[in-house]
Symmetry: C2
Subunit: 719 residues, 2 copies
């Protein structure tokens, strides 16, 4: 591989000029960026590179924020559950919240804006029956029903930006001021945000790219009374709420939101909840507002001949890149953190921007760069995982974050990143404009559809959850697979039917969640559309508890397609005859051992029509069932690994009755993949592992040849 | 132990007179009985013993039944689910049923008595839109909605008694006639049943005990098209249905039952379903009818100076011994099969009879008595398990079933039973009238209450189910524990509150089932009654998914008592802090390893108030939480073994805040138990295992002494 230059962004650090020059040279970096906490000095700015400057829109200006406390950002919060033991009940509604983050809003009338709910009945308590005791931060319910539980949904001010709060507490920043977030919807704040940006642009002529981190509203991140994380939802609209927003919503949409529409029984409408109509209306309303406001800031940036880049995270609420209004923002570029293939595709597939950039792991932080640790291992794992996705759709740039003085002390790491940056540029230069060959088209079906493209089963970006990894594996496997992937919602299917070019639909998730679908499956239009489509040849793959809602004797509403259902206990009296595994099956050809993760148990086959491929611990784990000309495939779960990636690819070709196309471009070894680019006449055989691999390669024309690939290696071939 | 006599019943066999005499002598038997398939000859009748004669009320008289086919027993059955692929749909509603068992009822108008349901919408189809094609046993729906699923609920005749069918098929009885069950509600049958009994009594003067097997309606047992079991529900009222019954019900109760009230989405109201009001009305209606009819037969028996004994099984529907009308039947005795401690208590606790008899395992059948097998092992296991319960409340007699010539070839077995029968008589003679000491009073709370005393989580009597053993262990542990056990229903609590003398309530089961309670937990009266009671000092033990129904942000509606709830995916954004185990706990004192069976996962503690005793695989498995003066204990599951019996006993004393009483009468070794009988001044230390055990014995006065017990041994002490 030749030494090449460009498409790489380096973080800077004070007093690190010469070393920065060296790293820029070694890694071919053509852009430098500062961070939250580092500032670029004049010498650095003179280096021959593009300069990104981190810009905070709605925080970091306490001199302004303190003058307008009434424009502080707000939240709707729910108290703990409180059991009444007599007819009066006092609720310390701030209990469990972090005093340094949260203040109750006594500016706006609690009787109008708060809600006290009897959680035993679900009834809202008449505001005449309760009163707020402001000096104690208590709420007193008179005429409470003994032994009922009550909650208070209250409007609060958020007086500390959650990201700065997180960094501040984590890094012991002591008496460094707490940055107060202000609300772009409020008049002074809106004006200030524009004025300050204009002023700042004038004062920062060397900046080429304004790196917005991000815009107005932080994803929901609430700390507890001990200053530890209490609630985190990377998609949460919590901090976008305000009296002004609620009033504007009512005016625009013609109805008033209840606190409960935001508080949602304390679940706060996480993306695992099947979204209610009011909540969908609300996020649409906020997205429109945010897009308009962002557009104004972008225009101001453009007037200074600079680029506007958005960081996908922190204050990104309302800017969803796959949302309806993102195009209108006029943003030039998006940068985001790449933890795996899924997050790479989340960034690289973003439409309507000039370029995308992925910030790769590891961060240059002491938790990785400490004596005795080998950071190359993490870097290599991250690169291999992300590279699969890069081969399908590359980001336009890569970069790193943190303090470069840390990796500088690890020469092997510097060497490794040199290799990675060169490999990235080599891949990019070859496939940038080449659409890779895809053998099959798959749609992920859930309550969110396109809006949450590559964002299914995420709670907090990058965090592992026992309840999600067995589903998250589906998108991770697909992120680097030779499949065309789309995300469609139940409402899409109901309104527009199933797109013509979809071969396979996947529905994966726990019962009741937005990813499985819950009550949505009682919608006749949804189930009939899918049944008709599969019957006429479509493939349906259900993972975990697909189409699950107990209704009319079925738990899986598509049990007739899937050929299996889940025993809830009501059906124990009915014998379950079908437990024999098939001798051989297309889906099973590469696998000896299965790994379904948490999986779902108590799954039984409905009839002998179902081919059971894996049955263990009294439950069908993998099966296939014909339905008309189509097929239904059931899987208990699909955590990510190379074997399950292969299994999913096989399952898709099988479900679509397209087995004959499976090996067109193909590597027999599960640790390898073949990516073909017909428009440029090239293909790549990729070793996704850190060991040497041998594989048969199917080259698209029916010929097979054997290759040996060194660890992590790519071998390019010509068609 | 002295050689003693009596309280033992032997099955007879043809041509086995001398050996029978010998067995009677060895085992001290004082009664002989015939079986389905054996007949007692004259020599045998002359032996000095009581004679039981098996009597079938509603089958075994084809000469009558064939003359009155319109009085054959009936069933409501549901077809398979059928997906419409166009606007007309033909349903082969008998598909999957056994032709030799089932005929469609074309005598009564299908348009009036059948129901066609769109299972996609739940709507009943207008009978004008469908027609039955009788010659093909098909039903044609015109104007079906394509891609909807349809079922037919149809009235059928059951032309073969299920028990005889089972025996016939299992034993290859070839062309032996199929016994046709007739319906005691029909005029000719009712008359025939009485007349025949009178005639029979005259013809059987030697019979002392008429052993009814049983009365009118068999539990639901339906075979499939291959003659294999398709549906079995030991509690099922399926075979009690008829047009006559439905019409009588309407007249008596003032409303008409729909087929769906019986068919119940194909679940047929198994005891795992939370019973609907119409179903409860229906079983009450049948029970009243059955009790009246049984009473008439019992009176006839009494007029012949014989006893009426009821076999608890087969055609026992409507005679539930813990039901409201059992007392009215006048039955003298009940005999039933003893598989474990629970089934022993199920029999021995039966009220309103003169005596009870347990039929012990193993049956004298070739599946146990074959060369090379040691039947003593099974006999000993069965005896040890049942003996625990016997020590609490003995049956009055024991007996065996099958062909005695089989065990006769196993001298060790004959010796062993000699020992068992002597031990039984010894125990019985001592404790017959002595109420054992109970340290604690526990109520099992579910949708069925008293009616299903000792009958929770049973599908088919004696059969293992993966979905039930982790709950069934609760009653099995209690059957031999020093606790007073009652069974109460949600409706009992709602109507009458919690009985004063209950220390602990247990709610155990999977979400949605009758044993957990499902939607019942949305009833404010239920949850408030329990919260108040626990707050004032009661103990609540929840096992598996107690009080589970998703409502207002809680899954466990008693989460405030239990201190734990189950994560369904909606709450993943909320941090779960509390995962640390307590260092020591009263409940944990005897146990090193826990065994929760299938357990329930994703259980988290709500606050630091919860003591977590066992936490594994990301889930709380055992915990305790204070609630006012009371406590809530959570357990993931409780399969039966000696360790879990100890755990449950500890959990009850702990939940009731009565730890100080736990060791009053107590064996330190978990394989041993102490049963005290204050009224006779005796106590028994029992080795429940087949190995020698050493134990400290707490003797009720605070003294402790050490004992060594031989395998299976009992040592009696004086107070």
């Amino acid at each position: 591989m030749n030494k090449s230059k460009g498409r790489v962004t380096l973080p800077i650090e004070e007093n690190f000029l010469e070393e920065t020059k060296e790293l820029m040279d070694r890694w071919g970096a053509d852009a430098l960026r500062d961070s939250d906490g580092t500032k670029m000095d004049e010498e650095m700015k003179k280096l021959h590179s593009k300069i990104y400057t981190t810009y905070f829109v709605a925080r970091g200006h306490n001199e302004f924020a303190e003058q307008h406390p009434e424009e502080m950002q707000q939240l709707y919060l729910m108290s703990l559950y409180n059991t009444a033991t007599e007819s009066s009940l006092k609720i310390n509604f701030l209990q469990g919240y972090f005093k340094e983050q949260i203040d109750a809003d006594y500016v706006h009338d609690p009787k109008k804006w708060w809600e006290v709910i009897d959680r035993t009945t679900g009834n809202v308590i008449d505001p005449a029956s309760w009163e707020v005791i402001q000096q104690d931060n208590q709420l007193l319910i008179r005429d409470a029903e003994p032994w009922h539980e009550y909650t208070v949904s209250f409007l609060a001010y958020m007086k500390w930006d959650p990201t700065q709060m997180y960094n501040h507490i984590t890094n012991n920043w002591g008496d460094k001021p707490h940055e107060i977030p202000f609300d772009a919807r409020q008049p002074y704040s809106q004006q200030f945000i524009r004025d300050y940006l204009q002023k700042w642009l004038k004062e920062n002529p060397d900046t080429d790219v304004v790196r917005f981190t991000t815009f107005f509203y932080h994803f929901t991140l609430i700390f507890n009374h001990l200053g530890k994380e209490k609630f985190v939802d990377w998609f949460g609209y919590g901090a976008s709420v305000s009296v002004a927003a609620l009033e504007a919503f009512e005016k625009e949409r013609g109805y008033r939101l209840r606190p409960e529409h935001i508080v949602d029984q304390g679940y706060y409408n996480t993306s695992f909840r099947v979204p209610s109509k009011p909540y969908l209306d609300y996020i649409d309303f906020i997205q429109q507002f945010v897009a308009r406001q962002v557009k104004e800031l972008v225009d101001i940036v453009h007037q200074s001949d600079k680029e506007a880049m958005m960081f996908l995270g922190d204050n990104w609420i309302g800017t969803e890149p796959y949302g309806k209004y993102f195009r209108e923002t006029g943003i030039d570029a998006v940068v985001g953190s790449v933890g795996d293939g899924t997050t790479l595709r989340l960034i690289s597939d973003i439409p309507h921007v000039d370029y995308t950039e992925g910030r790769f792991l590891p961060y240059f932080f002491p938790d990785t760069f400490y004596e005795g640790n080998n950071p190359v291992i993490e870097a290599n794992e991250n690169w291999l995982t992300a590279r699969r996705a890069l081969m399908r759709k590359p980001v336009d740039r890569i970069g790193y974050g943190g303090y470069p003085s840390l990796p500088y002390r690890f020469p092997d790491f510097i060497d490794y990143v040199e290799k990675v940056t060169n490999e990235f540029r080599d891949i990019y230069s070859k496939i940038k404009d080449a659409k890779p060959y895809t053998g099959i088209k798959v749609a992920i079906l859930n309550a969110w559809g396109k809006l949450r493209t590559w964002q299914t089963h995420i709670v907090a970006h990058g965090k592992f959850y026992k309840q999600t990894y067995s589903y998250y594996g589906v998108v991770e496997a697909l992120s680097g697979g030779a499949a065309e992937v789309s995300f469609i919602s139940f409402d899409d299917v109901i309104e527009n039917g199933i797109p013509n070019d979809v071969d396979v639909i996947i529905n994966a998730g726990d019962a009741g969640t937005a990813f499985s679908g819950g009550e949505k499956w009682k919608d006749v239009r949804l189930v009939t559309a899918i049944r008709e489509w599969v019957y006429n040849g479509g493939g349906f793959i259900g993972i975990g508890e697909p189409s699950a809602v107990h209704h009319e004797g079925r738990y899986f509403q598509l049990a007739n397609i899937l050929g299996v259902d889940k025993e809830l206990g009501f059906g124990l009296s009915t014998n379950k005859y079908f437990t024999e595994k098939t001798d051989s099956h297309f889906m099973a050809e590469d696998l000896d051992v299965y790994y379904f993760g948490e999986g779902s148990g108590n799954i039984y086959a409905l009839s002998e029509d179902t081919d059971i491929i894996e049955y263990s611990d009294g439950s069908v784990r993998l099966s296939s069932t014909p339905f008309g000309k189509g097929r239904g495939v059931y899987m208990a779960g699909l955590p990510y690994n190379h074997e399950n990636t292969r299994l999913l690819m096989r399952a898709m070709f099988h479900a679509a009755s397209r087995e004959h196309d499976f090996k067109k471009w193909h590597a027999s070894n599960m640790h390898c993949e073949v990516h073909a680019y017909p428009s440029i006449g090239k293909y790549a055989v990729v070793n996704n592992s850190s060991s040497q691999q041998q594989t048969d390669v199917y080259d698209g024309n029916g010929s097979i040849h054997n290759l040996t690939l060194e660890p992590s290696n790519i071998i390019w071939g010509e068609m």
